[in-house]
């Protein structure tokens, strides 16, 4: 514990800005993963335990597409679409068989897939750490705000994610598709009785969740290093985010993700050994005050 370091950081604007932007980009990546997890849970009532692996796949897909084409925009699009398609296949082929059965089987199916994917990544891309480096388009001098550093890529990442968040919110709250998804979430039997193919809805939601996770993975490649098994820690974090924000709420996921990102970012200064512990303390506190999360519905 190092309260002095934390205090001295808070007293200097440049340190606050640097830590805040660092916290914001982790929070943004976390939001993309957590929003998909939350959306899938809210609609299908299953926790996609292999959601972190989708993030990992997104990162590796983007790495490969970038290595082949040298075009980062293409890499991001390819990774998001590829992972979305993968999620759809996974849902249709495996996950849809254990809907309605107990949590144990859902966990096991995902556990099996995580093990397979982690080893598959090792076979295809190797077990060593990979890093892609910053694409040339973003290799510019960073912006300075009150002495704090803001790399251009961070700004890009924050803007993209906020756009996605707004689009997602609009899709769910303001469109006919969103209405159908919400109806299927509340009462799938009734929805299908009204002539809507719920299997398509479920598959679509799963694919959308996968697409978001793949996008997060692709956006993370320039700032994170890649390794087999990298999806697991982000899975735990995005679970904590959805618990804090409330399962099934996109707005909750955004708030929760930003909070966790900031807690981690400032936590590394004050409590370098205990950053994970801080997240848990935070989550436990939220659960005690609001058992269904900040934006969750009671019951």
């Amino acid at each position: 514990m190092d309260f002095e370091a934390l205090l001295s950081c808070f007293s200097s604007p440049s340190c606050v800005i640097t830590q805040t932007t660092g916290g914001l980009i982790s929070g943004m990546l976390l939001f993309l993963v957590a929003a998909g997890l939350s959306l899938i849970f809210g609609t299908l009532k299953v926790v996609n335990f292999m959601h972190g692996s989708l993030y990992m796949l997104g990162a590796y897909f983007a790495y490969t597409v970038y290595a082949l084409s040298g075009n980062y925009a293409l890499a991001v699009a390819g990774a998001a679409l590829g992972v979305g398609l993968f999620a759809l296949i996974f849902e249709r082929l495996l996950m849809s068989r254990v809907y309605g059965s107990d949590v144990l089987l859902q966990l096991l199916v995902c556990y099996g897939v995580i093990l397979i994917l982690d080893d598959a990544v090792k076979i295809i891309w190797g077990a060593q750490f990979l890093s892609m480096g910053m694409p040339p388009a973003f290799q510019r001098p960073p912006l300075f705000i009150a002495g704090g550093v803001l790399p251009v890529f961070y700004l890009f990442l924050i803007v993209i994610t906020l756009l996605v968040a707004a689009g997602l919110g609009f899709l769910i709250a303001g469109t006919r598709i969103g209405k159908i998804v919400r109806a299927a979430a509340i009462n799938p039997t009734m929805t299908s009785a009204l002539g809507i193919n719920t299997a398509v809805v479920f598959g679509g939601v799963f694919a959308l969740g996968g697409l978001l996770a793949g996008l997060a993975g692709a956006l993370a490649v320039p700032v994170r290093s890649l390794v087999s098994g990298m999806g697991f820690s982000i899975l735990i974090e995005s679970f904590i985010v959805t618990v804090i924000g409330g399962m099934g709420s996109v707005a909750g996921a955004l708030v929760g993700a930003l909070l966790i990102g900031l807690v981690r970012s400032f936590g590394t200064i004050g409590f370098p050994l205990f950053t994970d512990g801080l997240m848990f303390l935070f989550m436990t506190a939220v659960l005690i005050v609001r058992p269904s999360g900040l934006f969750g519905k009671e019951g």
Binding site: L94, V98, D102, V109, Y111, D119, I236, V243, L273, D276
Partner: protein
């Protein structure tokens, strides 16, 4: 015939210890006794997890926390505390129970999938603590310097034969104790809490107390499993607290049969045999294990022992069938 089930199980336990004691004469060689020692650790761990999953309907996905906690507490107490083996054992069990009481108190309030994930999250908290707290735990290298095992009561755990017998006795005694917990009035109340928590409330029992007690009991036995593992490797590694341990525990239960008391023991045996065979052939154990898990999760859901008991009941009409998988889709 013996009427009392306790006396009958005690007799079976004594017989099991005797058989295990004689087996090394039939299968001489280090490989066999090493296998049994590792099996004892995993079997206790998986059976304790089944107290929660099979009997309590609480799908914990973070039970490996207690495995890792037991291994690290025991090894650290012996290495840094310099106390005797029985004292370290007793302290480890106490620590396991106390931590389970705290974590259980937070987790059991939550509904099933939240419960699964929160237990998992706590396990990863322990894992990251172990990795971060290098001065105490040795970080990702694991505990270095070995674990001293001072002799007690004429038992020298440095001697492989003594260690083998010690692990066998701990295994059988633990299974015996858990069997009796499961068959006690508490065990039946636990099943009732699993099947119909609201009705349990009508009968004047506070369901959360039963759940918490089950969580503590499972935590205690889970840490005993870790203790045996740290004795075997004479160290402790962060892998013992990694989430895959919990996953393996859950899979052992499913593999052997969730509704049968000895299912997890059978599952642990099968999984260890599988892992020993596969790791000899390829380094991609996860790939093979993943495929096997998918086959079981989508196919043989009652586990091998449950499946065999069902087949036997059908053929002989002996009236004894394996209970249905205990965990029900949650609608409470």
């Amino acid at each position: 015939m013996i009427r009392s089930p306790i006396a009958r199980d005690a007799l079976i336990a004594v017989a099991a210890i005797l058989v295990l004691a004689v087996l090394p004469l039939v299968f001489p060689g280090q490989a066999f006794s090493d296998f049994v020692i590792r099996l004892s650790a995993f079997a206790i761990f998986a059976t304790s997890l089944n107290l929660l999953i099979g009997y309590g309907g609480m799908v914990s996905f973070g039970h490996g926390l207690f495995y890792g906690l037991g291994a690290y507490s025991f090894a650290l107490l012996l290495q840094k505390g310099g106390i005797s083996v029985p004292a370290a054992f007793a302290l480890t069990v106490t620590i396991g129970g106390a931590v389970a009481a705290v974590i259980g108190a937070i987790c059991i309030r939550l509904k099933e999938i939240y419960f699964s994930f929160l237990t998992l999250a706590f396990q990863m908290l322990l894992y990251s603590l172990i990795i971060a707290w290098t001065p105490l735990t040795g970080g990702d290298q694991g505990l270095t310097g070995g674990v001293p095992r001072p002799p007690f009561l004429g038992i020298r755990l440095d001697d492989p034969q003594h260690l083998y017998l010690f692990c066998c006795v701990v295994l059988v005694v633990s299974l015996f104790l858990m069997r009796h917990i499961v068959e006690s009035p508490f065990g039946y109340t636990l099943r009732m809490v699993r099947d119909n928590p609201r009705r349990v409330g009508f009968l004047g029992v506070q369901a959360w107390r039963i759940r918490l007690l089950a969580f503590v009991v499972a935590g205690i036995f889970g840490s005993i499993g870790g203790t045996l593992m740290s004795l075997y490797v004479s160290s402790a590694y962060p892998d013992f607290a990694y989430w895959t341990i919990s996953g393996e525990g859950v899979f052992m239960i499913l593999l052997g049969g969730i509704g049968v008391f000895l299912g997890p023991l059978v599952g642990a045996t099968l999984l260890l045999l599988l892992s020993d065979t596969v790791t000899r052939l390829t380094e991609y154990f996860g790939l093979v294990l993943g495929v096997v898990i998918l086959c079981f999760a989508l196919g043989l859901r009652k586990g091998l022992l449950g499946f065999a008991l069902d087949a036997w009941a059908k053929r002989g009409g002996a009236g004894r069938s394996a209970p249905r998988p205990a965990v029900t889709a949650g609608k409470d």
